[in-house]
Amino acid sequence: MSEMRVEGYDAFYGRSQALRDFSITVKGGEVLCLMGRNGAGKTTALKAIMGTVRPAAGRLWLDGEELTGLPASEIPRRGIGYVPQGRRLFSELSVAENLEIGLMTRHSGQESLDYALGLFPVLRERMKQRSGTLSGGEQTMLSMARALCVNPSVLMLDEPTEGLMPSAIASIREAVVKLRDDGVAILLVEQRVDAVLPIADRVAFMNHGEIKARFDIEEVRSDKSLLHQYVGVGA
């Protein structure tokens, strides 16, 4: 069973502290959702795990192996996949080239590609198309498929449903559920409560760079005032 454990991450932008004693554990076959208002530090937390924002303190383990202090390019090679906010596709490259970048990360084979394309079959028809010309939903699918080509044991998604139509949101949600059922550990950052409640197993609420509270999803579903208290919205 895969497991990613983060302990006591602190991160700074200049002199401003963006992450304060950030600690989480996410296990294979579960979806842990990070929620919080804009600027709460959710994206910084994911970037700190990926190493593109260097944490000033804290430790990181994946499946019992300590990854603390590894260069940013080594983190994905150990099996952490990342779907960044805004998708961040290589927009001038084709769909196939974007997927190849994912496959190159851990020298994954055809099996990983088939798995990713099995989740998002629409991409099969677009392999030669420049990724920047895809629709918003297809771009998100490609961003997820590219991360899945890494063959990750942990997948981190940063607001994957942002700006998408309901049909595309449903596809993304189905894919996340399938990944969870296949044993992938999923750390999901979301603002949309309706996208989180049906698929998350646990929720952690962030504010000012800190995790303020953690709940099982049943607690959140049964007490909607928690959402109002921590995110400022009702469900």
Partner: protein, 295 residues
């Protein structure tokens, strides 16, 4: 009209030779800027080192000049590439490729390389024998076959570079790094190593240009200035980081230089390229063929 033909042919050939060397030098500059966002002011010195390396090979490799030339074509770019790799590690990496910092530091590199060459190589211009002498006869004049060989070599190298960038995994890694450094890192691409290799490849392209040009033009420690200036002109006109644009602009600048130099004066050619840069910067600042973030 009949009298004009030989002049046109000669100017065209000279322009083509110039364009081919310029294409190599400017492609190196464009590649480095495109992938690393570094304006390498020392680029002309790598060209000069290629030429000086060719002269050194001619001195130390016995036998036919063609042998020394072949050795120079391999050894000089490799040594220059290693020097660039070292410079990237020792200087550019340490300032985290800060745009302003890299300009200042590559100016420093320019003077260090230039002065070290002056101290070791001396102030005199030195000639290098062409690897072969064969004159191609036209109805009006004879023309050096070596110069046409230069054109062929440049075309082969540019085609090779194109295939590498578009068809190889390394090219894909370079393009991904160019488009989005952070996302490239998120997929295990060691961007700092990519930068070092790209900086070395850029320098090697300039050095090959220097090796190719030195049988036509003597090696001198100050010879890097003009190619640097013209490479900047080409890269600006073609579009920063655009390889097709760089190739097209090198041909445009090279041919116009050849034609204007023959029919008017070399000064007129320089005025034209300067005006062209001004025109492009005012009316199409991304370059004639430029698109943002594009190889």
């Amino acid at each position: 009209m009949m009298d004009l033909a030989p002049y046109l042919l000669l100017a065209g050939l000279e322009g083509l030779v110039m364009a081919s060397v310029l294409m190599l030098t400017a492609l190196g500059l464009s590649l480095v800027f495109g992938v690393m966002r570094v304006v390498n002011v020392a680029h002309g010195e790598f060209y000069m080192l290629g030429a000086v390396g060719a002269w050194a090979c001619a001195q130390f490799v016995p036998g036919h000049p063609a042998l020394a030339f072949c050795v120079a074509l391999v050894v000089a770019p490799l040594l220059v590439g290693m020097l660039a790799y070292l410079a990237d590690w020792a200087i550019l990496k340490r300032i985290n490729y800060d745009p302003e910092g890299t300009i200042v530091s590559t100016i420093g590199m320019l003077y260090i390389i230039q002065q070290l060459t002056l101290m070791s190589f001396g102030p005199d211009a030195r000639a290098v024998d062409a690897p072969f002498y064969y004159t191609i006869r036209t109805p009006w004049f004879g023309y050096s076959s070596y110069k046409l060989f230069t054109v062929v070599m440049a075309l082969v190298l540019v085609a090779g570079l194109w295939v590498m960038l578009k068809r190889s995994k390394w090219g894909l890694v370079m393009r991904a790094t160019q488009f989005d450094r952070e996302t490239a890192q998120n997929f295990g691409i060691p961007v700092n190593r990519v930068y070092s290799i790209v900086f070395a490849i850029g320098a090697m392209l300039a050095a090959i240009g220097g090796v190719l040009v030195v049988p036509n033009q003597q090696a001198h420690y100050l010879m890097g200035g003009d190619p640097l200036l013209l490479s900047f002109v080409v890269v600006i006109v073609g579009g920063l980081g655009s390889i097709p644009g760089t190739i097209a602009a090198a041909i445009l600048i090279g041919m116009s230089d050849g034609l204007l130099s023959v029919f008017f004066s070399p000064t007129a050619a320089k005025i034209f390229s300067t005006l062209l840069v001004a025109f492009v910067l005012v009316f199409k600042p991304e370059g004639l063929f430029g698109r943002s973030n594009r190889v």
